[in-house]
Symmetry: C2
Subunit: 137 residues, 2 copies
């Protein structure tokens, strides 16, 4: 059993800041769970364009409001607490937070954590993470 505290993760190198967002990565690939689990804040007023080519992701809104635009369909959906958006088709999307938005995110396969350090703190408008090493289980 692993017990982890968000405050400790926020104070560690598992807390990553990008353009318009900040993410506390409570579980990464090396935890061996087969998924990663992040508490991610998307900052008010930002326009965050994303495309995870190699990952599936679900994002549950805990606090805050904004919109997500599905660039495949052109549809825009409201984001507020209790909404889950699911990138089950590697969907290209843009999130536009009206307020700071706090989310609980799950990635499959898990994020390794190394993507970020390889980028030296800078992120492309369309960010992606490379394929991770397969897990034993």
């Amino acid at each position: 059993m692993i017990i982890r505290n968000l405050a400790d993760v926020r104070a560690s190198d598992r807390n990553i800041k990008g353009n318009g967002w900040e993410s506390a990565r409570l579980l990464l690939q090396d935890d061996g769970m087969g998924f990663s689990f992040h508490l991610t804040t998307l900052y008010a007023g930002e326009e965050i364009k994303m495309h995870y080519k190699n990952h599936l992701e679900s994002v549950f809104i805990l606090k805050g409001e904004g919109t997500i635009e599905d660039l495949g369909t052109g549809l825009t959906h409201e984001l507020r607490p209790g909404i889950l958006y699911v990138l089950n088709e590697h969907d290209r999307h843009v999130v536009r937070p009206k307020t700071n938005i706090l989310t609980a995110c799950v990635f499959n396969p898990p994020v390794t954590g190394k993507e970020v350090h390889d980028e030296s703190g800078s992120y492309p408008a369309e960010m992606d993470v490379p394929p991770p090493i397969p897990l034993a289980h």
Copy 2:
């Protein structure tokens, strides 16, 4: 892209009640994400003994307080908002909520949803879910 609302899930057959807990299953195996994602409430005053023999699970505390006892080590840990507990070794454990505890849970492999209906609403003290059908991806 899937957009889902917790309120809708709570009002559907994806909202399951057990002995001492209630779970809104926002993502199940048939969503094809390779994990399931649940918002689960553990009720104050209950003593919930669990052992997931075939699944890994992470549980993030959103609201409420209590304890978790690791029956393998005998250690008891405090649960409060911001704590993640991770059953990475199919750990036998007991959760004792002091207040209602709201959690965000991830299961790998994903829960199918069929486990519950097979049990006809009753749950053994040590509950488990059967191995799911492997996903294509």
